[in-house]
Structure formats: C-alpha cells, structure tokens
C-alpha cells in the first residue's frame, strides 16, 4: 500500500517536472532544433573548404585575372581583399570552441537565439528532408551534445549575420531617386562550394515594375555577386537556396 502511494507520488512529481521542462523548451527552442539537424555536417569537414577559398584569394591580387574571369561559368569573384579573413578558420573555429565557452544549459542559447533571430531578421526553414538527421545522430551523440549549444548560440546565427553584413556592405540602394526608397525586392540564389553563388541570381520586385524598381533590382543582384563568396557560411549551407529581402525603406531612413 505504502509502496503504491510512493509510486503514485513519484509519478506525479515526474509528470510535473517533465511538464515544466516541456514548457521551457517551447519558449525559446525554435531555432536550435533546426540547426542541430545540420550540426553533424558542420564539424566533420572543415578542411575541405580550404582549397576553394584559397583559389579565390589567389585570384584577387593578380591583375591578370581576366583570362580566369571570362571562361568559368560559376564566376569566380575576386573579392575585395581587406575585411574578409580566410573563411575556413571562421567556420572551423567556432564549432568546437563555443561549446565550452557557453557551458550554460541549453535553455540559455534558446532564449538568445529567439531574440537574435528575430532582431536580425534571420530565419532558417526546417526542410522536410533535413530533420531526419536528428535520428541519425544516435551514433554521434557526443558530437551532438557539443554542437547543439555551439550552433544554437553562435555559429549559425553568426554565419547568417555574416551573410547579412556582407550584403549590407555591398548593397548600394538608390535612396536619392524619387520612389527609390519604396522599392522592395526579394532576391534568391543558391550557395555553392566555398560560399560561391551558383547559377543565376533572381530578383522579384514587390509592386509595380517601374524603371526605378528595375534599376533597384539590378543593384540588389549586383550586391549579391559583389558580396560573394560568402565565406562565413559553414559547409552545411552549401546547396541551400537563400532568399534575401532588400528593404530600401529601412536602408534609406
């Protein structure tokens, strides 16, 4: 009898605890779940990115780039040398490092992620194919426990804000033309190896396709090409289709 009472009490306590836990997760765990599904890819192959980046870097300083620039279809862009450090270390370093740096329980990253993601207007869609990587993780349980906080807090959101920073530096909206600040554009492109843009960059104009909107869309597309390669993007983003909403009203205010 006493055993039965104790058993019921234990079950009740466990239920309460698990209910609370569930609620906590609900509050701020949206982004980490998605990112965790991509974590395994991230920390496996940092080394593979090096050759791609190096190629791009050697091109930049050499003025005889022309012959290289013309033939290749994927457009190897000699990016401006100054602000961008080699991408490889960026990707590689954060993944292992932040894990110990943020020893806090998983709840912390979740909170900050939610706010960061919203404020930075960065979002990552959970693709139906990718979540399946979670179950795969059985064999990589150790990796996952380290990678989760790392990606949840910093790597993915840092990669995204790096992408946004790159685009902001290269986007020159025409604020001084009447109607220029009212143009809203959505530009899509696919990321290839080394953060290169693969294939065409497509622009959609929200609203009437006026000459001002057309030239604005050219500028946004040009910004994407100018900002590429996106070296802050970890390898698991390669092959992803990225949509960028260029908001001239904000940029011109």
């Amino acid at each position: 009898m006493l055993g039965s009472v104790l058993l019921h009490a234990t079950v009740a306590v466990l239920l309460l605890v698990s209910w609370n836990f569930t609620r906590d997760l609900k509050v701020g765990s949206v982004v980490p779940v998605t990112i965790v599904s991509q974590a395994p890819d991230t920390d496996v192959r940092p080394a593979e990115q090096a050759p791609v980046e190096q190629t791009a870097q050697t091109e930049a300083p050499v003025p005889e780039a022309p012959p290289q620039a013309e033939p290749p279809v994927p457009k190897p862009k000699p990016t401006p040398p100054p602000p961008k450090p080699a991408p490889t270390p960026k990707v590689v370093k954060p993944i292992p490092t932040p894990a110990p740096a943020k020893p806090a329980p998983p709840a912390k990253p979740e909170k900050s992620l939610d706010l960061d993601a919203l404020s930075a207007s960065i979002s990552k869609l959970a693709r139906p194919a990718k979540p399946s990587s979670a179950p795969k993780g059985a064999a990589r349980a150790e990796t996952a426990t380290q990678a989760r906080p790392a990606l949840g807090t910093g790597v993915a959101s840092a990669a995204m804000s790096g992408l946004v920073d790159d685009l902001q530096r290269r986007w020159n909206p025409n604020c001084n033309v009447e109607g220029g600040r009212d143009v809203q554009l959505r530009v899509t492109f696919t990321i290839g190896a080394g953060g290169q843009v693969v294939g065409d960059v497509a622009a959609q104009i929200k609203g009437p396709t006026t000459p001002v909107a057309r030239s604005a869309s050219d500028r946004a597309v040009s910004a994407v090409y100018a900002a590429a390669p996106f070296r802050t993007l970890p390898r698991e983003f390669y092959g992803e289709k990225i949509a960028v909403n260029f908001n001239a009203r904000e940029a011109c205010s």
């Binding site: 022309p66 057309r214 289709k241 990225i242």
Partner: protein, 435 residues
C-alpha cells in the same frame, strides 16, 4: 509534440518575411534573411576615355562631369584603371574593374564616317558581369557635346530608373559689368554651362524667361521706362511677338503644360491679379480678383491647378486654385515670406523662395503644403527652376555685395553646387529634354 510545435513556430518565423512580401514562391528558399541597411553612396562608375582620339576622350569627360554633378555617381579616377584599350565589340575583363570596386563601366568608341560622327557605347554591370545598355549615336562632328549629353541621359536612366536631364538647355538673364554699369541679356547655354549664347531681343531689361513645353519658344518680360511687355520668342527663327498691350505693368509669364496658354500678372494701381491668355484666340481671362498682390502663377503638370503667390492674408504666402481661378486656398502656414512657387514637372512638389530669419532659402513642399524641406540658405537665394526630371533645381544666389550666380541643388539638399558658368546670372529656366 514539443519538436513539432517548435518546427511549426520556426516555419512561421521563417515565413514572416515572405508573407510580408507576399511572394508566392517565397517558401521555396531554405534560408531567408532581411537586409535593412546598405552602403548608401554615389554609385562608383568607371568612364575610361572612349576610343577615337581626342573626341573620344572629350566625350567620356563630359559624361563623367554630368554624372558627377548629379550627385548620384562617383566617377573613378582613370589612373586606377587596370584594363586599357577597351573594345566595344569585346566584353571587358570584369575582374579588372571589380578590383577597383567599379559598380558600372561605360566604354565607347567615336569615329567619323563619311563626315558624320558616330559614337558607340556600352554600359556594363561590373559585378553581375552583364551588359546593361548598348547604343549608337550619330551626329555632325561639332555636335559631340550633345552626343555626350545623350549618352549621359541613357546611362543615368538605366542606372537610376529616372529620366535624365543632361541633354537640356538653360535660359537665363546673363549679368555683366560692375555696379552702375550692369548689363543684362537674355542668354541660353547647355545645362553644364557650355555653349552660352546671348540673344539680342530689345533695349529693355529682360526678366523671367520661361520655356514652352516643347522647348522651342520662350516667354519673358521686358521692362522699359514706359512700361513692361510680355513676349514670345521663337528660338528657331528668333522672331518675337508681344502678348499684347495691357493697362498697367505685366509680369511673371509662364506657359501652361500644353503650351496653349500663358498665365501672367497685371498690376494696376497697387493691385496685381493673375490672368491667363489663350495663345490661339488671344482671349484673356482674369483668374483672381482679390485686392491683394496675386502673382507668380505656375500650372500643375496636368494643367488643372495653378499655384500662385498672394499677400491677401497679410504676408506673402503660397496658394493653390483651379486653373479657372476657382477655390483658392492657402497652403503655407509655417511662418516666413513665401514667393515664386513653381510646380515640379512630376507634380509631386512645389518649389519656392522663402525669406525668414534674415536669410533667403530655396525649398520644396508637397502641393498640399506638407513635407516642407528647406534646401538652401544664403544672403539671397531666389527664383527656383526645375530640371525636367524633377530632381534638381536651379536658382540664383547672391552674396552680400557680390553679383548673382546660378547654382543648382537636388531635392535632398545634399548636392548643392554652382553652375559651371563663369559669368553672372539670374532668373534661370530649364528647358525640357531636347529631341
């Protein structure tokens, strides 16, 4: 359950920007980001000398100066160019232009074929690595500046989406001579101050020249000791005719947008009112009857309304009325003395001269009087005139003790500069784009 709800929320978050844009295929992207800041600056553009010798170099120089003066472009220093000897038939080596951060590149070739000047040019998007424009112009060799202005307009329009204003002319009153010996002449020059010519039209003092919508005629006022007259001057034939004889002083003429009418003021016994004359029938209609000073009429681009200046409330303010004189209403209430309203060609703004705080200003406001922006301030700024694309204003500026010069300012007020014309000038009027 928890994961499911997380994903749902994630999907909702990710869909937010897409939903805001209402783009149907938005959900197809794996990642969606918003870019809310930019590097707002004049567009860096490379304009190497066109092929074809001196004339090619001169054409590129004029285009470069035009674009720079607009304030929307920053022509790059030719010394930084890596690729030389560009050919209009061959793609440039984009990497060489990306290296110097040129966002656009214009290259061209001038040649004289059968006594005609032929100029080809290409406009390239350097980072997208594609041609945006490729045109050819032909003209007489001495007309090379005009070809350069036309190319400037084409480049400007393609890169901004706005019509250009470089192939235009400016009519103004040229001033020369010192105090007491000042002479004033009706003059016309290119918008960049080149090719000034002076038109001998009479012995009186010429004031307020205004272009017709076609750019082929000018109406102006001539003041003589015995009174004033308004004239129409045909620029092709240089023939002029008067609008007629009026009792009292006539002044401030301006064409209607269809060119069929001229509105002006007539002053009699201290009371001036606004009239409009049909140029075919010469029938004149009085539009205002208030015992105050009503002057400076300016039609809206659709011809249905007229902005004018009146002191009927006690101080000079700007009013709007129907083109038939109906429903006049005041639109300025911010204090100061408002004069010379001029409706912009786009209809979005009215430019004006404002006197306040011991200074004169050129400003613009919406036709309902809102969104007033003061663009300039000085000892004496007055007489704004719009560029045909409604983005730039000309006006005359006079310092204390100095002569008046022509200046320009864009509607942001950031691009303020003197016109590259060495002489003095007042009363500017900007022609429409030439054909």
């Amino acid at each position: 359950m928890t994961i499911l709800s997380k994903r749902t929320l994630l999907a909702a978050l990710a869909a937010l920007p897409a939903a805001a844009f209402g783009v149907p295929g938005a959900a197809r992207a794996d990642i969606e980001v918003n870019v809310n800041r930019g590097d707002v600056q004049p567009l860096p553009i490379a304009l190497p000398a066109f092929g074809g010798g001196q004339v090619g170099a001169d054409i590129a120089g004029v285009i470069s100066a035009n674009l720079q003066r607009s304030g929307l472009f920053r022509p790059l220093d030719p010394a930084s160019f890596v690729e030389r000897d560009l050919n209009t038939a061959v793609q440039p080596r984009f990497a060489a232009w990306q290296q110097i951060n040129a966002q656009a590149l214009v290259n061209g070739q001038a040649s004289v074929v059968g006594g005609r000047l032929q100029v080809d040019f290409r406009l390239w998007d350097v980072f997208a690595e594609k041609q945006l424009l490729g045109l050819q112009f032909a003209s007489s060799p001495e007309n090379w500046r005009r070809v350069a202005h036309k190319i400037s307009d084409a480049v400007y329009e393609r890169l901004t989406g706005e019509k250009g204003y470089f192939d235009t002319r400016i009519a103004f009153v040229a001033e020369s001579g010192g105090r007491g010996k000042k002479t004033k002449q009706l003059a016309i020059m290119d918008q960049d101050g080149a090719n000034p010519s002076y038109i001998p039209v009479g012995d009186g003092e010429i004031m307020t020249p205004r272009y017709s919508p076609t750019g082929q005629e000018i109406t102006y006022m001539e003041l003589r000791p015995e009174g004033s007259k308004i004239y129409l001057l045909n620029l092709d034939t240089t023939r002029r005719e008067t609008l007629g004889d009026f009792k009292g002083m006539v002044f401030a003429p301006r064409f209607s947008p269809d060119g069929g009418k001229v509105a002006f003021s007539v002053e009699r016994g201290g009371n001036s009112d606004i009239f409009v004359m049909d140029l075919k029938s010469h029938a004149t209609t009085r539009l205002t009857t208030d015992p105050a000073i009503d002057t400076s009429p300016s039609f809206s681009p659709d011809g249905t309304r007229i902005a004018f200046n009146s002191d009927r409330s006690g101080s000079p303010e700007i009013y709007i009325m129907g083109a038939d004189g109906s429903n006049p209403r005041r639109i300025t209430f911010a204090g100061g003395r408002y004069t010379t309203p001029v409706w912009s060609p786009t209809g979005e703004f009215i430019a004006f001269t404002k006197q306040t705080g011991g200074e004169f200003h050129i400003g613009i406001m919406r036709p309902d009087g809102t969104d007033e922006r003061i663009l300039t301030s000085s000892y004496l700024d007055e007489g704004p005139a719009w560029a045909p694309n409604g983005r730039v204003l000309l006006f005359s500026r006079q310092g204390a003790g100095g002569g008046a010069k022509l200046w320009s300012v864009d509607i942001t007020g950031r691009v303020l500069q003197p016109l590259p014309y060495p002489g003095g000038g007042t009363d500017p009027a900007w022609s429409p784009l030439l054909n």
